[in-house]
Point group: C2
Chain length 350, copies 2
């Protein structure tokens, strides 16, 4: 079946309307008509091939909320009319140790991304959520239990939400822990909401004084303006865990030294230019660690969605029609969004 | 009391004989006549003030084995004639959270090093094991249970041994784990022996083909010459844990990418010039970590000594009289020692 989508034919071309094919649902497939799709920095990096390796035409989008419009004969868990989500993954090998543990994002044979991933179907790579419809194996479909009027704001949970939730859970953030979130953007604002909801003492780091009140409104118990050396120094050696959502190259030592013994700084963004080499003695002197974390597995993504539904957590969003996507990219690059753009996919028919 | 020692009066001066004072044992003190003292890279860095902050005269040495020759009135755990050890620490605050957990090396108020540490006694900083005698609070004295003929080779356990034992234990190295040890020198050769004795599949990394057989003799199940890209590539994503004992600046990515998901690369040496900035995507894509580790606490050092006594583990050493210390430093800088120099402290009386 042919559907409408928005995508780019080359790295130096703007996004434009295009027609793409979706497969007829197989026995294990769920067909989803897309309501909303969040706009992630990865979309922009991929469309413009800033990480290299982009296959064209490229249709981005991996923060998808929609309605089930058909299910395959062997699909037991989903029914037509249900509200569901698709995140960053649409397939994985299902038999390696990581898949067996429900950590499909670390699939030893390589997961299949929701866009720009390998597939036997035309055009040879997956096409994402800037489109009217998607057909996905039921193992990668998520249940959405938020109320109807929050569905647009649920979309960013599928990437920004799980990318911050997974490391917070893995490193056991909760009551009694002092947790820092660096960068109050698409990811960071979710990190603040989630860490707060998990019961941790949550401190937001921002470079701009202007975001201090905003960060408190998101749930931060305290806000540190990282350009203020005195504020930073007052917290030396006191954090159990710091989640750094800033992908731009920056000084990691500013944060490692705020960690207490056995504390961990987790990075979730890959900088275009390397961070300055972190100070090894800061790691040695307090057995600190710098680690990375990648999105989350399907089971954990469902757990995160249920946690957010129970706690009433959604992203703070600005809704756009697909026709404004280039403008949204430009504003996103300037951090001029609070805190995530979400596409109203009904605009695709205009 | 005045005793003989060997030390330096300035960063650019060679070590020479000097006379130093030791306190009369207080109620909690143990007086130890030193038999042997291992020669650690830190000794050289400190004597030459390569890390800055060295106080002179400087008497290095923190791998000390000796005999108890007097005990204070309140010392219950040690008796005259016993063989004991002193490692890198001779005091700590004893009341911070780290001290309370027996992790005196991470004392929040700063531990007192065996040399170049703060003390109220003359000359205002501690003086180490290149000396005839030392007087230490009984909390920092360790029992040596190795046979008499191994005592010289026990000395390096007090720093090189515990520096490798502590991270191997902390990150739960044991049967079923694949563990790498990078650098086969003073620290690394202990790392290989200890990881092997803990039951891990132990792989030694060395830059030189010539050390391949030596590393196997130490207990490595396999040896990888790190300059051979094919050998390295064959092990990608397969290590649970890698202990990197190389302090010189080098490419950490070569090792992080050998780690499996959730694996950790632990650094125990501070490079003079920073390592190239590690690749963040290698951390993110498999939730890997780079961490640091500092020596070990007193309880863990005793545990390590007992483990080594039980397993018959000592260092491979080359014994020297104190008069050859400058030559030993020169050779150590060229890695021309298998694998640790140990001073025969009886040479101080010559």
């Amino acid at each position: 079946m042919t559907i409408k989508a928005y995508g780019a034919y080359a790295a130096d071309k703007p996004l434009e309307p295009l027609a793409i094919e979706r497969r007829q649902p197989g026995p294990h497939d769920v067909q989803i008509d897309i309501l909303f799709c969040g706009v992630c920095h990865s979309d922009l990096h991929t469309v413009r091939s800033e990480w290299g390796g982009t296959l064209y035409p490229c249709v981005p989008g991996h923060e998808i909320v929609g309605r089930v419009t058909a299910v395959g004969a062997d699909v037991a868990g989903f029914a037509v009319g249900e509200t569901v989500g698709i995140g960053c993954l649409v397939d994985s090998c299902q038999h390696c140790p990581s898949c067996a543990e429900g950590l499909e994002q670390y699939c030893e044979n390589g997961f299949v991304g929701t866009y720009n991933g390998p597939t036997h179907e035309a055009p040879g790579h997956t096409l994402g959520g800037y489109s009217q419809r998607i057909v996905v194996d039921d193992k990668f479909v998520l249940k959405i239990r938020h109320p109807e009027d929050q569905l647009a704001a649920v979309a960013p949970l599928l990437c920004a939400g799980i990318t911050t939730y997974s490391p917070l859970r893995h490193w056991k953030v909760g009551p009694g822990k002092k947790v820092g979130i660096v960068g109050i953007g698409g990811l960071g604002h979710m990190g603040v909401k989630l860490a707060h909801a998990m019961g941790a003492r949550t401190i937001a780091f921002t470079t701009s004084e202007s975001k201090r009140e905003d960060a408190k409104a998101l749930g931060a118990d305290e806000v540190i303006v990282s350009r203020n050396p005195d504020e930073m120094a007052a917290h030396e050696g006191s954090f159990d865990f710091i989640l750094d959502t800033v992908a731009a190259s920056h000084d990691l030592n500013a944060y490692t030294k705020l960690l207490r013994r056995d504390g961990t700084l987790v990075l979730v963004g890959v900088p275009e230019h390397p961070h300055p080499s972190p100070d090894v003695s800061a790691l040695i002197m307090k057995r600190r660690a710098i680690a990375g974390s990648l999105i989350g597995g399907i089971a954990e993504t469902q757990e995160m969605l249920d946690f957010c539904a129970e706690k009433g957590i959604v992203a703070d969003i600005e809704m756009i029609p697909i026709q404004k996507i280039d403008e949204a990219y430009d504003r996103m690059q300037k951090s001029d969004v609070k805190y995530r753009f979400v596409i109203d996919n009904s605009s695709l028919v205009e």
